[in-house]
Amino acid sequence: DTTLRVASWLPPTHPQNAVVWPTWAKWVEDATEGRVKVEIEYGLGHPKTMFELVEDGVVDASWSYHGYVPGRFKLTQAVEQPLLGASAEAASVAHWRVHQKYFAKANEHDGLEVIGLFTHGPGQIHLAEPISSLSELEGKKIRLGGGVQGEIGARMGVTAVGAPAPKVYEMMQQGVIDGVFIPMGEQKSLRLHEVARNVVALPGGMYLGSFGIFMNPDFLADLDAKDRDAILSVSGEKLSAMAGRAWDAADIEGLKAAQENGVNVVQVKEGEPMAEEFKALTKGMDEAFYESVADRGVDAKAALAELRQIARSYK
């Protein structure tokens, strides 16, 4: 019997740890007829180190946010670009397929076996005070993660404040920040409904966030061929879709928590002024993305087009 050690982060109650990993663990155990058992381990350090902890065999598998390692992961930002207008599940499937077809050969995940790619739900604007126009965000102190949201924040003229997600509640409540760009699910899991009483939900959200799930190649190679195939058969697109679905479900829970607690959620519709404002604001970001990945030797333009087509037509 083999134990497959998964390093995880975020609290054990988070959907990624309460749903995604246990579901996959069950799939793996069933597919290998119980020969491979999955064990989750916490407390191994900052999420950005997970890539290398898996690569060097400290653990056998893990997951992380690509934006934590700027410079190494650029192509993964394709799925994060604004105005995709799809659910996390649809985006995750598109993310996986396009990666396999276009991006895998650029080898950004060098040293790792990628077994899944997914995104969180659309990022929205959570604020202490309401706004009626995106231009009011100028000069406001907003907590931003890296990557595409940084670019959007810069175009809006916000004062960017960097901090890890679990610190957001404290900083919101203290007034160190006026708002945060983050998916709807955090209204519940980070208790933002207590401190960010105003949400502006743009149609399709502003951006997505790319995550990878990966394994140590040597661990896979050392397995029996049938176990290896069994694990891979329950990973890939199947795992990516399942993860995306779980994060979508978290967003629905978050929206419910927000509404039950009387948070002012403004659902901006297509064609309304703020949606138009956002479109104008993000003009040219596609080109900037192509530019940033020019050295990667892939057809980024075709890849982004195909990604959008898959995500938008996903059933």
Binding site: E41, Y42, G43, L44, G45, H46, T49, E52, L53, D56, G57, V58, A163, P166, K167, E170, M171, Q173, Q174, G175, V176
Partner: protein, 442 residues
């Protein structure tokens, strides 16, 4: 469980018998323990794949040395050192003397209060006792105080420094357990003041038993008292800026350290107590202390990787569940372990060694981690005056060459008892620590 406990015993041997610095002992035992969990044995020593354990350790070094929230360590220490250099300790002592000095044991009481006030700015117990020894010892000698009472009030007063916020130890506890640092700071207030109060009671007790140990000082008139208060505005202002800024949300606790250091720098400039040379001394002294703390912290994190992989926290939990005892009994056992460890270790090493093991257990028993943090810090404070190795006592006997450590330990006994009373109060009445955080933040 057996593997982890074996590792722990080897670690204690390394630290106590072989005299390896704690940082490196924890790092080495953690490293080899982790490698053992990865399949290292005597047979495969030469062709073992060391890379995974090495990467684990390297990543701890690389990331801890660049952890943003740890920037409070050098900056809070810098604030304390700048305040010390400004001579504020003298004025704090003068102000408390003005109000308390004329009572029996009054100078001793003034020392305790001044130590408490000084601790409010300075995060280090050792610095507090070393500084206050220079300030408070001469007047107590002048009035014929017994060495045992005089030194004990300084050694004990010095321990207050790590609980009254801002506190470096509370920050480290917050990082290890992912507990809100702001709430920890708020929770430290009342237990900190309770500590001062109980120490005052201890002084009263000593002079009631042996009146000649602590004669009265001079009584000051009210105008003189007001004038003495004038001298402490600097400390009060700095403390208000730091804690008020955190409370009002002007900056984060992490940023508060930088602001506090900046404020202390301005006070020091204003009082003309800085030269290039002394600024350099303060900065390098702070850097040395910080580097030492980072060494211990990195070692502890590597060691905790091994403890986790060996499954000690979850095994402990299973054990407690099987024994089926009341949760409070578990806490009392943990406290007993701390008091025993406190004989040998100083506060930070003890905290780093044990918190990763105990906090998952405490959390799953349903206790509040903020409350547990305060309990742990109080019990580690006690270790600083617990024989045979009480760091504060040693620092004091090093500063005052003519006083023996045994004399100080003898004098410290009533204060030690006061600490045990405080520990019991805080353990059984959780609202002593949780009242403020609940009022302010929950």
């Amino acid at each position: 469980m057996i593997t982890a406990l074996t590792g722990f015993v080897i670690l204690l041997l390394f630290i106590v018998v072989v005299r390896v610095p704690i940082a490196f002992a924890m790092g080495l035992v953690g490293f080899f323990g982790f490698a053992y969990m990865q399949g290292l044995s005597f047979d495969n020593f030469m062709d073992f794949n060391w890379n995974s354990s090495l990467t684990m350790a390297s990543k701890r070094v690389i990331n801890t040395a660049q952890e943003y929230s740890l920037s409070v360590i050098p900056l809070f220490i810098l604030m304390g050192n700048l305040v010390t250099k400004s001579g504020l300790s003298h004025e704090l002592y003068r102000a408390s003397y003005a109000f308390l000095g004329h009572r029996k044991g009054g100078l001793s009481m003034a020392t305790v209060v001044a130590c408490g006030g000084f601790s409010a700015i300075c995060g280090s117990s050792l610095a507090t006792s070393a500084t206050m020894a220079k300030v408070a010892m001469p007047p107590m000698r002048k009035y014929g105080y017994a060495d045992s009472l005089a030194t004990a009030s300084i050694a004990a007063g010095g321990t207050l420094g790590i609980l009254i916020p801002p506190s470096v130890i509370l920050v480290i506890y917050g990082l290890l357990t992912e507990t809100s640092i702001r709430e920890l700071f708020a929770a430290g207030f009342i237990p900190g003041f309770l500590g001062i109060l109980l120490y005052l009671c201890a002084v009263r007790f000593v002079v009631w038993r042996t009146p000649e140990a602590g004669p009265c000082g001079e009584k000051m008139s009210w105008p003189e008292r007001i004038q003495a208060l004038n001298g402490v505005w600097g400390v009060l202002a700095l403390f208000s800026v730091v804690m008020g800024g955190i409370y009002l949300g002007i900056f984060t606790p992490t940023e508060a350290a930088g602001i506090g250091a900046g404020g202390a720098f301005i006070i020091a400039l204003y009082r003309r107590s800085l030269s290039f040379g002394s600024l350099f001394d303060i900065l390098t002294d702070t850097a040395r202390t910080s580097a030492m703390l980072f060494g211990v912290l990195i070692g502890a994190l590597i060691f905790s990787n091994f403890i986790n992989r060996a499954g000690l926290p979850s095994d402990l939990l299973d054990l407690v569940n099987n024994l089926d005892v009341a949760p409070m009994v578990v806490i009392l056992v943990i406290l007993a372990i701390y008091i025993v460890l406190g004989m040998v270790f100083e506060s930070l090493s003890m905290l780093l060694l044990t918190v990763p093991i105990f906090f998952p257990l405490v959390q799953s028993l349903g206790f509040d981690l903020v409350w547990f943090g305060i309990v742990v810090v109080v019990v580690t404070e006690i270790s600083l005056i617990t024989p045979p190795v009480g760091m504060n006592v040693f620092v004091l006997s090093a500063v005052l060459r003519d006083v023996k450590a045994s004399t100080i330990f003898k004098g410290v006994t009533p204060f030690w008892c006061a600490d045990i009373v405080r520990l019991a109060l805080i353990t059984f009445i959780s609202s002593i620590s949780l009242f403020l955080p609940e009022l302010l933040y929950r």
